[in-house]
């Protein structure tokens, strides 16, 4: 009967190939986590402070606090 031959499986370098794939994967995951933190936490925090101070009026803020009675020195 006719029989086909199977392709020769990869016999060597399995660990090296696995290491290469996972080193790329590890760096991708870690850089992804860092990017996630930077654009999920760090940049929004900077933007929040910039937005807060853009139109901030310290006298208006002070007057609101003074009317609420929290200051001892300014009633």
């Amino acid at each position: 009967m006719a029989s086909g031959t199977l392709a020769k499986p990869q016999m060597r370098g399995l660990l090296a190939r696995c290491l290469w794939i996972h080193i790329v994967g590890a760096f991708t995951v870690s850089l992804g986590v860092a990017t996630l933190y930077k654009f999920g936490v760090a940049e929004p925090r900077k933007k929040a402070y910039a937005d807060f101070y853009r139109n901030y009026g310290s006298m208006k803020d002070f007057e609101e606090m003074r009317k609420s009675g929290i200051f001892q020195s300014a009633k």
Partner: protein, 228 residues
């Protein structure tokens, strides 16, 4: 003040504290990067069936894991030094306030123009008014002007203490026989709380600091009324 179950910093009320927060974000990002890399590699080591029993050397990976940490350390050091020098900038302060640590209270001296000195004791919990904060309120608050460079001179009359206001990014040791200097510059008015940060005896937890930051006009009115 801190809120219950708060994990992060208190809202920054000074430019230096803002910079410290951004630096912390930068460094924490690097910490997460390294931790996730190590965690990935550990899980890999625990789940592989492949081995290499005749490893003699690994010059390439040794080079990588020498150069890469050095680069990471430089990426941390440069912003760190930038903020360090920023905190030590020589400014011309408009006001000088001296504070002395005692067991267990702070005393303050405004001696630029007239001589105003007072002690600041914690308000006992039983004497608090409704809405006041336990272990944080004091009888006499430190009143200071906003948006001005203020020089703090900090020392102690007895043991080590530490004068801290987290919102302003200030923590300076009060050391007997030594005068330490810190610079305050607040961006906005308000009440800012801090607590002694160097173990100083039985009531170390019960000597808080409360700053009342008001516009200059109101600060001057307060100063005059207190001196009368």
């Amino acid at each position: 003040m801190a809120h219950p179950a708060q994990l992060g910093f208190q809202d920054a009320a000074s430019p230096i504290m803002e910079e410290l927060m951004y630096f912390h974000d930068h460094t924490l990002m690097i910490v997460f990067l390294i931790s996730s890399l190590v965690l990935y590699i550990i899980s890999l080591m625990l789940t592989t069936e492949l081995t290499h029993t005749s490893t003699m050397d690994a010059q390439e990976v040794e080079t990588v894991w020498t150069i890469l940490p050095a680069v990471i350390l430089i990426l941390i050091a440069l912003p760190s030094l930038r903020i360090l020098y920023m905190m030590d900038e020589i400014t011309t302060p408009t006001l000088t306030l001296k504070t002395m640590g005692h067991q267990w209270y702070w005393s303050y001296e405004y001696t630029d123009y007239e001589n105003l000195c007072f002690d600041s004791y914690m308000t006992p919990p039983l004497e608090l008014d409704p809405g006041e904060l336990r272990l944080l309120e004091v009888d006499n608050r430190v009143v200071l002007p906003t948006e001005m460079s203020i020089r703090m001179l900090i020392s102690s009359e007895d043991v080590l203490h530490s004068w801290t206001v987290p919102s302003l990014g200030v923590k300076t040791d009060a050391i007997p026989g030594r005068l330490n200097q810190a610079t305050l510059m607040t961006s906005r008015p308000g009440i800012y709380y801090g607590q002694c940060s160097e173990i100083c005896g039985a009531n170390h937890s019960f000597m808080p600091i409360v700053l009342e930051l008001v516009p200059l006009k109101h600060f001057e009115e307060w100063l005059l009324s207190t001196l009368e």
